[in-house]
Symmetry: C2
Subunit: 227 residues, 2 copies
């Protein structure tokens, strides 16, 4: 039922600021127990779509230009949800033998081949993010078959029957390297927001890990108060 509520919000049946029907009436509408309603609503609030005001009701949140830290979706999913024009271009793509770190993160044996890439991500004409990824061997054919300017790897993987989920993300601040600076159009050594990211298939197999470097001030990262 969480999916249905989400759809109704995105369809415009409920718009930001609106109050949802009470938990009690949702219980009747969907013919489920109240605790089921609650778990669906709290799940949506974790994803930033809803918030609760005790004794009053559940409200649809306003949708800012904000990447919520509690969501963890792919860049293109996020941009698409927001209706923003986005693009991407592979700057570099090559195979190589796994390093010790890659073997550990992707659960591979030494000697196996991985695909590494660097991709520049744009919002309109503006470079906003640099994405350096390493892909597990069993998905490299899919990634290699992509156009240089393919916008969504997640969509390509989904077409191949691989649904991915995001694991833990770690956030740091780093100074732009020479390459970062050149590709993102910022001064060398200027501060960038770095997100270390892991991606898994639904069965738990590691698919990818990567480092995204964001130009500050363009995409705002936010974490919302839960309760």
């Amino acid at each position: 039922m969480a999916d249905d509520i989400r759809r109704r919000i995105l369809d415009g049946e409920f718009t930001p600021g609106d109050r949802l029907p009470s938990e009690h009436s949702l219980t009747a509408d969907y013919q489920v127990a109240r605790s089921t309603v609650r778990s669906a609503l709290t799940a949506l609030s974790r994803r930033g779509l809803l918030e609760s005001r005790p004794s009053i009701g559940w409200f649809v949140r306003s949708a800012d230009q904000v990447q919520g830290f509690d969501r963890m979706r792919s860049f293109s999913q996020w941009a698409a949800d927001r209706g923003t024009e986005f693009g991407g271009r592979f700057v570099h793509r090559s195979r190589g033998e796994v390093t010790v770190r890659e073997a550990r993160l992707l659960r591979l044996r030494y000697g196996e081949q991985v695909l590494r890439n660097t991709r520049i991500r744009m919002l309109g004409e503006r470079p906003v993010m640099l994405e350096r990824s390493t892909w597990a061997p069993w998905v490299t054919p899919i990634i290699e078959s992509l156009d240089e300017d393919a916008s969504s790897t997640t969509a390509a993987l989904a077409e191949a029957g691989i649904d991915v989920v995001h694991g833990n993300h770690r956030i740091e601040a780093v100074a732009a390297s020479s390459e970062d600076a050149r590709l993102l159009g910022v001064p060398r050594s200027s501060p960038l927001l770095m997100v270390r990211r892991e991606t898994f298939a639904k069965d738990g197999r590691p698919v990818e890990f990567g480092e995204d470097r964001y130009v500050p001030g363009v995409i705002v990262f936010e974490m919302r108060a839960s309760s």
Copy 2:
């Protein structure tokens, strides 16, 4: 009961990697329903102390120097949860007239007086964070009465009957200013992680807003996959 579990972990009864007693046996130990046990355990997992492995059990997480993005607690609360020795020292504290931005964020009228401070935060002997805050007039007496090296403003406010909650946090990367560099012991212009923070009283009145600047690599910020 969440508090009691937390205490037992910090007391060392359970150490990182340990499996907790099963939900069923905790139900018996604490004489509560299983859903109560579960809400306590999931609350602790949101705070980063536990994680669940389906069909196996609940495990104590390795106690890294990790600040979870889905928690939003005060620095001292976080440090206390981890049993880390922490400290703080006010570098600067003074009253002044509100700026336009402060008036908006703290919902004040122009001409009112606010308290601004800069505080350096330490883990052991190491400066790890610089905290610049602006406090609403109705709490300034409490903050002004604090020792220069008071470790927790949250605790002081709680003693005065003011329970605070954290609002949205926004994360960016910034270059260290001269003052940042001097106080944190890092090179000027080196990258810092900046967290913009709002704090409210339980009744919704704004209490404080601030900018925290973290030395990268000391405290790692993490967001965990929810499901």
